[in-house]
Amino acid sequence: MSHEKQLETEDRPCTLRAPPLERREQFVNDAGNVVERLYGPAGLEADDFEYASHLGNPGEFPYTRGIDASMYRRELPIVSAYAGFGTPEHSNRRYRELIALGVQSLSVALDLPTQLGFDPDDVMAAGEVGRMGVSISTLRDLEILFEGIPLDTLNAAGSTANAIGPIVLAMFVALGEKQGLDRTRYTVALQNDVLKEYVARGTQIFPAEPAMRFAVDALEWCVEHAAHWIPITVCSNHIDVAGAGSTAATAFTLANAKCYIDEALRRGLTVDDVAPLMRLFLNEREDFFLAVANYRVTRRIWAHVMRDHYGARDPRSHAIRIMGYAHGPRETAQEPLNNIVRITMGALTCFLGGLQDMRCASYDEAMNLPSDEAVKVAIRTQQIIAHEFGITSTVDPLGGAYYLEALCNGMEHDIASIMQRVDDMGGALGAVEHRYIQRTISEGASRRQRAYERKERVSVGMNIFPSEGDARPQTFRTDPGIERQQIGRVQQLRRERDGARVRETISAVRACARAGRNVMPALIEAVKAYATVGELCAVLREIYGEYEPDVSF
C-alpha cells in the first residue's frame, strides 16, 4: 500500500521530532492500513504523483477534483430526504413539511412488505405495514403520497426500491401522466441496485441473475424514454456498513455497476447510452479522511473504467455523480444528541468530497423512525454547512493535501486489486456465488466488533466515558390502525378497479418476463390498471423463481 510508505528522513523535520511516547503504538484506520505520523511530498513522489493524471482540474478527466469546473459555486449539493412512514396521507404531510424546510429531492422510504412484494393483507406483511416506511401497494397510494406535490417542483423524486425497482419506476411514470407532466419536466431517481441486496440490506425477492436483468429493464427503458432520469444508483453504503469497509465496498460497488453495464451492452446498448444515467451512493463512516479520499478517488477510478475498459467517449459517462447519506461514526442510542456532532462531521466529508446529492441522518435514527425535531436538525445541518462557513466558496479545498492524496493513491491500488479478484471470479454474480463478498463482509464485521470491544474503535458515551444513566430517546410507534387502513384500501381498490383490464395487463407482464423481453412497458400498463405490487411480484416469482435464504454465517 503506497500510502504506508515510510516518509522517514525527508518528511520529519527536526522541529516535528516524535514525542517520546505516543498514545498508541500504531494508528490503524478502518481499512486496516497503518496511518503514519506525517505525510509529505516524498510519499507522493513515490506514487509517481502527477497533477494532470491523478487529479486534473475540476470538470476534467479523471474528475478527482469534481465533475464540474465550478462545483458548489454553481450548485450546492441537493438537499434530499429519505422519508416515509405509515399511510400515504401521513407521509404526504411529512413531505410538505420537508419541502417547506428546504428539501429539494424526495426518496420514498417504503415499508418492508412493499419492498418485498407483499400487499398489506398478505400474511407475510402482518405487523410490518407502514412501519419502516410508507405502504405503497398500488398507484393509488403513490397518487395520495404526492397529492399537491407536482413532481416537477422537485429536483428529483424516487425511491430506494430495489427488488421492485422497475415496478416503482412504472408507478412514477404513471404518476407523472396523472399529474399532467411531460416526462422531460421531472426527474425520477431510483436506487434499483438489487445486486447488493444479496450481500447486505437483504430485500431480495428473486434469484440474483434474473433480478439483475429485471433492474436493467428499468435502465434500458430510461435510455429510450427518459434519458435524464437516474434508474440505477449503485450503492457501497450498505456493503460498507455490513462490515466490508469502504474500500472493499467501493470495489464491489464498481463490480456491480459493471455487471449492470455488461447486461445493457448484451442488449445492444452502448456504454455512452447507459453510463450517464447511473449514479453512485458511497459511504465511509469510520474515518473522516478515508471518506473524503474515497469520494474523490472513486471518481478517478470510474473515469478510467469507463474510458479505458469500456471505451466510453461521452464525458458524461466519465464523470460519475455521487450521492451520500451523512451519518458519521456509529450513532448511538445513548446520549442521542451527540449524534448531531457525528452527523455534522459526516456531512462535512460529503462537501469536501464533492458530492452532488446528499442527506443527513437524524440524530435519533439509531433507535427508531426520526422525530420531527431530529429531521429538522438534519436538514439544517446540511444548510448550515452549505451556506454559513465558507466551505463551499472554492472547489476541492483539500486537493493536493499530502495525507489525502496518499490515501487516494493507496485506495486506488487496493480497489483495483479487489475488482480484479471479482473479475477473476466472473464478475459480481460470480463473486456472490463464490461467497467472496459475503466472506469479506463477515470477516470485516468480526474485525470491527473485536476492535470495538478492545476499545481500538471508540464510541464516546458507550465504550469510553460511558453514559451515566440511560438516556432514552423519543420512540416512534406505529399505530396498528395504519395496517387496518391500508388493508381496507387495497381490498376496496381490488373490488372497484376494472378486473378484466388488470388480468389482461398482468398476463402481458407474465408473457414479457417469460419471453425475456423488457417488462417495463407492460408494467406501466399494469400499474395504470391498479395492479398491486403483490400481484405483480407473484407473477414475477413464477417466472424468475424465489431467493433461497443463505444460512451460512
Binding site: 405487523g127 419502516m132 437483504g202 463477515s442 466488533q449 406505529t478 451460512s552 454465517f553
Partner: protein, 153 residues
C-alpha cells in the same frame, strides 16, 4: 426448514459435557443480519453448535426448526421494531408444542422500555446493540450448563 439449515460445529476438541445447541433466527421481513451472524460466529467460537435460519423466517418456521434441531436456546434478532408481536408468537408456539424448556433470548434494536414486556412474556434476556459478544456467549453457556428448568404445574 431442516433441509435449508445447516449446523456448524466448532473445531474445538469434543468435551464430555454438553456443548449446547443454539438456533440463531431472523424473524419477520427485516434484512439486517450482520448482528445475527456475528453472534452465531461468537457462539460457535465459544464451542457451541450453532444453526442459523437465514433471513425472513416466520415464527412457525423458527419453532419447527428449533424442535427438529433439538436446540437449548433460540436467539432471535430483530431490527424492524416488530419484536413484541413476533417474540410473543414464538413463545406461544413453543408452549403449544411442548417445547417451553427451550430458552428464548433476543437482540437487535429494541427500546429499553420494551424490555420488561419481553421479559414478562418469557424472553430470558434481551441484548441491545453494543453488548460485547463475550457477554452473550457467557450467558448462553450459563443457560446450557444449568439444568433444564422444571415445568411449573
Amino acid at each position: 426448514m431442516a433441509s435449508t439449515s445447516r449446523t456448524f460445529r466448532s473445531d474445538a476438541i469434543a468435551q464430555p459435557e454438553r456443548r449446547g445447541r443454539v438456533l440463531i433466527a431472523k424473524v419477520g421481513l427485516d434484512g439486517h443480519d450482520v448482528g445475527a451472524r456475528l453472534v452465531a460466529r461468537a457462539l460457535l467460537d465459544a464451542g457451541m453448535e450453532v444453526i442459523y435460519t437465514g433471513l425472513r423466517r416466520t415464527p412457525e418456521q423458527i419453532v419447527r426448526a428449533a424442535i427438529e434441531e433439538d436446540v437449548d436456546v433460540i436467539g432471535v434478532s430483530i431490527l424492524s421494531g416488530s419484536h413484541l408481536a413476533h417474540l410473543s408468537k414464538v413463545r406461544r408456539l413453543l408452549e403449544e408444542q411442548g417445547a417451553s424448556d427451550i430458552r428464548l433470548i433476543a437482540g437487535g434494536v429494541i427500546p429499553q422500555e420494551d424490555i420488561p414486556a419481553l421479559r414478562e412474556l418469557g424472553v430470558s434476556r434481551v441484548f441491545v446493540a453494543g453488548t460485547p459478544l463475550s457477554e452473550i456467549a457467557e450467558y448462553v453457556a450459563g443457560i446450557v450448563r444449568a439444568p433444564a428448568p422444571t415445568q411449573p404445574g
